[in-house]
């Protein structure tokens, strides 16, 4: 499988959360602090990862640490460039 580009992954997260500001998100941003984050966001992110990357991650694992870095760890760092 082709490795996932980090920039593309960050962009995907921004897109599903409908974050407008281009500079707002880094790997360490706590997504739960974003204005756009709400009760649906976990489901939206987990579904996007499953649909686009074919990886299933657990919502409850993600909820423990809601950064992109933590998402990448849950998916498996080896899958990223």
């Amino acid at each position: 499988m082709e490795k996932i580009k980090k920039e593309e992954f960050v962009q995907d997260i921004k897109e599903v959360l409908e974050v407008e500001d281009d500079n707002k998100i880094t790997l360490d941003t706590n997504l739960a602090d974003l204005e756009e984050y709400d009760s649906l966001s976990v489901l939206v992110i987990v579904t996007m990862i499953d649909k686009k990357y074919g990886k299933q991650i657990s919502s409850s694992d993600f909820e423990k640490n809601t950064t992109i870095k933590s998402l990448m760890e849950l998916i498996g760092k080896e899958y990223f460039e």
Binding site: E18, E20, E36, D38, S39, L40
Partner: protein, 254 residues
Amino acid sequence: MNKNLFNLKNKNIFITGASSGIGRQCAITFSQLGANIILVARNKERLEQTFNKLKKGNHIFFVQDITEYDKLEEIVNISVEKIGKISGFVHSAGVDKLLPLKFTEPVIYEEMFATNAISGFEFARIISKKKYIDREGASFVFISSIMGILGQIGKIAYCSSKGAIISGIKAMALELVSKKIRVNSILPAVVETEMSKQVLGNLSKESREEILNMHPLGLGKPEDIANTCAFLLSDASRWITGTNLIVDGGYSAK
């Protein structure tokens, strides 16, 4: 009481099935209440006729088969660019067919669900995006049917497609609360439109009379549904979401 509670002034409202029947009346009524209307339907001639009946405003129309799902976002995009963000959506497009189960093959369900339910859900998905929706809040209204909760011979596909709306709007209402979007549906009984006249015309005289007798207040007029719809789009209904509102002249009271 705030007198402006029931008006639709400065609201941009998107209507499918706007060329005839309930959709056409919705467009006319909403324009009289001060809204800007985005009309979508397949038939250009009838769409233009509706367009010409609107009270002056910033209106726009699109000739489009709404089951061509990949074309829908462009329409929404152009609408928002031209008249601004959307604060109301009414899915009034619908098809009906009288067919006994024996002839109701999968393709019949697919076609009927596509127009009656899925295209409406798809528009809701697109319009609810942050870049298209009015941040102050919005209201979506789906025109279902009393046939979504009651049966009728020869209407298996129609009834089930209208039933899909009834359950779909409840789930959608819960999801869209965070965007301040309310989602409701209206369940009319028989309303005098070109479509219902055609369907009634295919029935025997006896069945037609039976249907008339089932409506204690008589058959409905498109205005009856458009007025209810205007209420659900207005700020007067700000605490109503996930509701299926029966407007049937007493049909289901029996």
